[in-house]
Structure formats: C-alpha cells, structure tokens
Symmetry: C2
C-alpha cells in the first residue's frame, strides 16, 4: 500500500472510530442512561461531533485525500477498485461537509436541541403555537442550509441529497404521485369492506417475557445474528452499528399489543442484517454502512413486510408463536393471524400505519416540507394544511395537533428530506424482491417455507456486501435492471390486498 | 474568567469528555457487547486513548497550562482556590504523562493486551509456564517505566505513585508490617474456634430476581442514588462514572450464594456514592473523581464492611431480606445472619476473602511485586514464593497455580503498585469511620438504626465533595487529625472479632 494512501486511511479510521464511539454513547443514552446523565452526555457527544467535524473538513484532510487519490491513480488497485471507490466517497463527503461553516453547524445544533425540548412539551399539550416560532427558525435554517449546499433551482434537492445521494425532488415527486394515484383508490375500495379483516386477536394481554423470547427467535430466524448483535429495550426503536460484528437492534414492548415489538423487531433486524453483512474490507471507513437511507429502509421493510407480513411466513412460524401464547392464540390459526397483521385501516399516526397507507403519510410530509421550504406554506398555516392533506389522502382528521402535525420528531431535527426515504424504502423493497424472485429460484422456494436463506443470499450479493460503494441509483439499476419506479410496489400491493379483501383486480 | 484560563479549561474539558466516552465504551464492553464486537471495540478504545495521550502531552497543552497558571496567579481566584488546585493537578499529570514517550506507551499496551490473552488461557489450564515469559516482559516494562518516571532509590515508589499520590513504599511497608503483626495472631486465635460461626445459611438457592430486587433496595438504603445511576450485570464487577449524575455500578449474581451480589453491590455502591457526591464545580476536569485509588477503595470498603457487615445494619435490614427469601431465611434471625456474613476463614482467593484475612492477601502481593521489580525474585520462582508466602500468612496452600499465583488479572495489566491500595482502603476506612464517630454524634445514632445519613454527611464534607482537590495524605490528615496508620483498623477488627468469636481482648 502506498504511504500516502496509508496515511489517508489512518485519518479516516480515526474519524470513523470517533463516530462509532458517538454511536455507542447514543445507544447507551437510549437504553441505559439515567435521565439525569443527559447534560453530561450531550457535552460528550458535542465534543465528539466537534472533533469529527474538524477532522472531516480541515485543509490538512483535503490534502490527505488528494495525495491518497493520486497514489491510488498511480497504483494498480487490485481487481475490485475498492480504494478508488473510497477516495470518491471521501471526496464527496469532504466537499459536502466543507460547504457548512462550523458556526452554522453549531447554530443549527443549538437551535435543534432547544427546539426538540419545546417540541416535546408542545406535543404533550397539543400546543402547536408553542412550537411554531422554533419551526420557523428551523425552516429558515434549512433554507440557508440548502443554499449553502447549493442546488440547480430546487432547494429541496440539496436536503434530499443528504439522505438519498443523487435523488432529485422531481424524480421522487413523479414516483410518489404515481403511488398516490394507485394507492388512494385501493384504500377506498378496502374501506368498503370494513368487516373483511379482523385484528382483535393482536390486542390481548401478551406477557412481555413471552414477547421477548419470540422476538429473539424470529429475528434469528430471518437472519439477524445474535452472536454479533444484541436486542435492547427503548422508547423509540432504532438499529445502530459499532462495526459489522456488533450491530444492535432495539424495540419496545406493549403488554397488550403484539404488533409493536413483533414487527418492530423484524424491522430493526432488517437494518441490522444489512450492517452485519457489509464486506469486512470496508471496515473503519465511510463505505461500511448503507448505500442511502432509502436503501437501508428497503432492507428493514423487506424483512418487516414483504417477508414478515407474508402468508407463508406465518404458516411456518405461527405454531411457534402459538406455543408462547397458548391461551391468547390457541383458537387462532396461521391464516387468521396472517390476515390480522395485514389489516388496512386509515389512521392518524405514521408509525402505526399499515403497509398500504404508510406511503400516504410520507407523501403528505414530503409535500408539506417542500411547501414550507419554498415559502409557499407559512409555518402558521401548517396545521390546517396537514389536516386538509390527511383528509384528502386518507379520509381522517386528527382530533388535535398532538395526533397531527406534532407527532413526529423529525422537523425539530431539523431533517427535511428524510421522510421521503421511508416510502422510497417500501418501493425499493418491492422492486428488489421482484428482481430477486425473478433471478433466483431459491428465493421463492425458501420464502414459501418461511425461510429467508435464498433471499438473503441474493441481497447479500446485490446489496449488503457493497456497503456504500454503489450510489443508490446504481445499486438499484444493477440489481433490478431498471431505475426506481412505483410499479413493483403497486403490483405487489394490488395482488396482496385484492386477495386479502376479495377485491377484483 | 481570564481568556487564557478559559482556553485551558476548554482543552481540559475536551480531553475529559474523550476519557468519559472511553469509559462508556468500556462499560458497554463488559455489560452488553457481543463478544464478536471486541476487535472493533479495541480499535475504538485505542483511537480514543491515542487522542487523549496526544492532547495530554503536547507542547501546545504545556503552553496552555502555563498561560492558564499565570492567569490564575494574576487573578483573585474567588474564595476557594479551585482554579489554583486545578492548575496544580494539571501540571502534575502533564509532567508525569510526558515522562512516557508514545512508543513506550504503545509497546506497553500491546504487550499487555497479548499478555492478558495468554494469562486467561494459562489460568484456565493452571499453566504458569505459559504466562512466565510474558510476565518477565511485563516486569521489565514496569522496571523501565519506574526508571522513566524516576525515583529516589526505590523503583516501586514510582509505580505506587500512579495510584496513591505521595505514598512511599517505605511508609506503606511500615503500616502493612504492623497490620500483618496484629492480624496473623488474631486469625490464628479464630482458627482455634472453628465452630463458632456458621455461614451455611448464605449458601442456599437464592433466585436471582429476588437478589436483584434486594440489591437495588439496599444500595438505595446506603445512599446510592438510582436517579443518577444504574446497576448492571457483569462477570467482573466494577463502578464507573460518566459524570456525577451518571454513575454506574455492576455486580454478578450467583444463584446459590447470597454474598457475591449482596456485598459486591454494597462495595460498588460505596464507589458510586463517592462519585455521585463530588462537587458539581469540578465537572469535566481531572478534579472530578477520587483523591486516589486507596481513598476510593476506602469508600467502597466503608459501605461493604464497616456499614454492611455491622450488627445494627442487619438488625435494621434483615427483615426486608427475609421477606424476599422467606423459605431460605425464615428460620434465621438478624444476629445469626450478622455472624454468618462475618465468618473468618483463611482461603485461597483474594476476592472471596473475609474482612480480616483480606489484607494478608494484599501484603503478600505487595511484597512479591517489590521483589520482582527489584530483581530479588525471578519470575520463574514466583509460584513457589507465592505458595510459601500464603502458607506463612494464612496456613493454606493452593492446589494449583489457578487458585494461586494466576488468580488475579492485575499483573497482565501490568499494574504493579495497584494491589496495596485495596488494603490501604481498609485502613483509611477504619480511620475515617473512627474520626466520623468521634466528631459527629449523628453518625453513631444513624448507624445504630441501620442508616447512613450521618456518616454520609460527614464523608461528604470531609471526602466526597473535594474530588481530587486534596492529595490523599492531606485529606486523611485533615479529616482524622493524623496520618494514615494501622491502629484504627486494628482496634476495629479486634473488638469486632473478639466479640464474634468470644476471644479475650
């Protein structure tokens, strides 16, 4: 290895380790930290963030990248071009990070931290007016951020880029419009058959220790490796990686509803499987991670929905669940359970939405974010716009802003541009699944038996092992032979819900 | 605040935060990390250690200290001289850290990491020969370290200094000799009354959930604040602090022995109470912590033994324990329980030793460390010297080196000079307790009722709040009116065990 490249790697490894240390501190903060420890923890995280930012934007680091790039260009990079990919991503990240001066980053972090606290109390008391001045400040900051990053006319592009490299607002809008066009009538047709699916079986007392045992079992069954993982308990579930051999997932336990822990664990296990299967050669570099937020979400949605809410999956695994809860599920069967976990029901809260209406919650947020950013929607008019939008899309209206515009933490982030990646994840997942079935006979054979071996082998080859080496558009094109579209999802959803609800296709 | 002092503080805070981040990573490593995560975790900890070392030894930091010191000297430092104390400690640490060049620190860390792995397998198979070449290397490194630190003729002084600032080998030896002289005959007298105390009641099946509930209860009773703490499960218990408002303790649970979890929790709670009660003004500086390892250990021993193994304590708390374990303890009473937890029994394993014989295990290690360091004892002759020493002190001989010379992790550290602080903790604890009783009537009154309020108030004033502002010798002198000695411990032990074993005083 050339010395200049070695020096670059050493720098990159150091910054990576600091980032992973911060990830451990955040994980501990959500899982075990006493509340009183938060002020000190915030100081520690701020210090780490500052050191990372310094080392990610310094002139000296820029020189290291260019020297390393020259060394890579001069050298035969082995068969696979890993060093060239790394240098490309380092240059990209460096260039982007340099566009935000340190004082802007600090201003944003401070405003966000205070806005977060205000948002919590505003939500608790359904008092949007309290949050409004903070959201106004945050929208201004997001606008400034978009200008600093730069864009070709559509400021939202600059923010979306932070989560979905290469995606444009126009392209996402086109796909989302198609999803909306196809989904809304389907949801309406389902609404005309209110008694077709009954999910009462899911809402019974389910002792938490039984839920924990089954959640571990089922996460392991779908391919999450507990030898290199850990399932923790939190209020707001997430997955995080401290290295491919230490990938944590978390969930929450509701004593009278099976769904949050069960599908939450499957969801986070999907994220975890991705991280556990990045190639070891990517370790300690920015390549060790997902291709984008949307691609990461595709892996969690794949496991949660396309696998975990499928009929053969429950045909295979319902008996084990039944053994954990004989009193609650003794009279149920796999088919009834499969139907129950797929009930479609327009509702107010995004994180509780079913597989079909979920995307519509995202479309609403995507449109409102753009309107606020572009100045077409004043923050003061946001609650009304929210309620109108939800009524149009789903036919429901929140009783208060707590169940409406104040429900999500993201805008206090402020992370405009993040919401769309949730729906992109659903679309990617359907498109990848369709390609996997078409390309590998083992995929269907295993899924029909409730197993994921064939699917994971294909995903490993097409998605997991590449980490962040492929930009999302290239990854999807290579894996599926087509760019991102809405059709695979629509085909999947139509077939599934027509069958479930007895609709004419 | 003067700018130069502000700049110094900012630097110190950064280094402190990195140290606390490392502490979180170590805590997680022992409590939740999957074993497979260890290589990445070691890299992350090594990176943090390196950044801390760079920032703790750089010329630029030296300049910051001197500029800060000048500013402090120029300024009226308020009433209490905190800034002056901080500058003194920063200078002391900087000067000491600069004596070890980075390459020596790395060599030591690498040798230690490999030696630790060898030690684990050597211990498992009772094979000292395997560990011997590594211990030889470590002794050489400790000798080199002592020379690099510098000393006035006694190399061990230079290592002891790292744990007990200002202590000399000669002074510790004099106190330990006195302890040995007084303790050995007492242990022998007790050995002549083998049936006087029966501890069978402690070795029964005790379900772990009951142990956990009582451990939390009793830790809280002695003053550990769970609002600013957390009790975790580990193989090798420890306490750690991420800030005074987030102080973690850990323990292990034996399903058929009440002692390890019960007294282990009280021990770590003692460490935790110290950290939780340092003055808030010391936060994010090296002053936020214990005065020395020995003083820290005095607080854990105080809670574990002087409080937790006292008669009034169990008179007050045995009923609650009995309620957790009615089947096991229904036929027992507080007096019998008090006697059981104070059984004196010469044994092989330090961490399982009773209050009286514990110090003799330490005296043995203290003497062997000096002999190895001074070249008077070849590492190859260590097992024989260990066994001879134990026979002379306690009349027992290990069946193999697993229960003998290989039992402790410390020498693979290598942390020569650390062992004595365990016994110093016992001596400090007795001396502090005697002073507390003499100075504050509330101490005895509360202890007689099984409460620690009076004692903690005194300790808070004399010990806790000062953090590391007072060197250990000054702290003890101020609190007790005398330098460290053996007499308070001997008085305490003689009275307690004469009563328990019906000896003539």
């Amino acid at each position: 290895m050339h010395d200049a490249y070695r020096r670059l790697l050493a720098h990159v490894n150091t910054v990576h380790d600091l980032g992973k240390a911060a990830a451990v501190l955040r994980w501990d903060r959500e899982t075990h930290m006493p509340k009183a420890g938060d002020p000190a923890r915030i100081e520690q995280l701020t210090t780490l963030r500052r050191l990372i930012h310094e080392r990610s934007t310094s002139d000296a680091y820029g020189d290291l990248i260019e020297a390393g790039a020259a060394a890579v260009a001069d050298t035969d990079d082995g068969a696979d071009g890993l060093a060239a990919d790394l240098v490309r991503v380092l240059r990209y990240d460096f260039d982007r990070a340099r566009r935000l001066p340190e004082d802007f980053v600090v201003r944003m972090a401070e405003t966000s931290a205070r806005a977060r606290t205000v948002w919590e109390s505003a939500r608790a008391e359904a008092d949007f007016a309290r949050f409004r001045p903070w959201l106004e400040r945050l929208v201004d900051l997001q606008r400034e951020m978009a200008e600093r990053y730069g864009h070709a006319g559509e400021p939202y592009d600059a923010l979306l880029e932070g989560y979905e490299q290469g995606a444009t607002t126009a392209a996402v809008r086109a796909v989302f419009d198609a999803v909306k066009r196809e989904t809304v009538p389907l949801v309406q047709a389902i609404a005309e058959r209110p008694g077709a699916v009954d999910d009462a079986v899911l809402r019974q007392p389910f002792p938490v220790d039984g839920q924990q045992a089954f959640a571990r079992h089922i996460a392991s069954q779908v391919g999450y490796d507990f030898e290199r993982g850990h399932l923790g308990t939190v209020v707001h579930p997430f997955a995080t990686s401290f290295g491919r051999d230490d990938v944590r997932i978390t969930t929450r336990w509701y004593p009278d509803d099976l769904r949050p822990a069960l599908f939450g664990t499957l969801h986070e296990a999907g994220h975890g499987i991705y991280e556990q299967n990045t190639h070891p050669a990517l370790a300690r570099t920015p390549l060790a991670g997902g291709a984008s937020s949307g691609i990461h979400e595709s892996q969690s949605r794949m496991v949660e929905n396309l696998v975990g809410r499928s009929r053969p999956f429950w045909r295979a695994h319902f008996p084990a669940l039944q053994r954990h809860f004989p009193a609650q599920l003794g009279a149920c069967d796999a088919e009834r359970f499969y139907r129950a976990v797929n009930k479609v029901q327009p509702s107010l809260i995004r994180v509780e939405a079913d597989e079909l209406t979920y995307n519509l919650h995202i479309v609403l947020r995507f449109e409102l974010e753009q309107a606020m950013l572009g100045g077409d929607l004043a923050v003061g008019d946001l609650p009304a716009a929210w309620n109108d939008g939800l009524r149009n899309l789903l036919g429901v209206v929140p009783p208060s802003d707590r169940e409406g515009v104040l429900q999500d933490v993201h805008w206090s982030g402020p992370s405009f541009g993040y919401f769309p990646t949730y729906a992109l994840g659903n679309l990617y997942a359907a498109q990848l699944m369709e390609a996997a079935r078409a390309q590998s006979p083992a995929v269907d054979a295993d899924l029909e038996a409730g197993q994921t071996g064939g699917l994971l082998a294909w995903l490993h080859d097409q998605v997991h092992r590449h980490g962040r080496r492929l930009p999302p558009a290239e990854l999807v094109q290579r894996a599926t032979g087509a760019p991102l579209g809405h059709t695979a999802f629509v085909r999947y959803a139509r077939a599934k819900f027509a069958d479930l609800y007895g609709l004419h296709a």
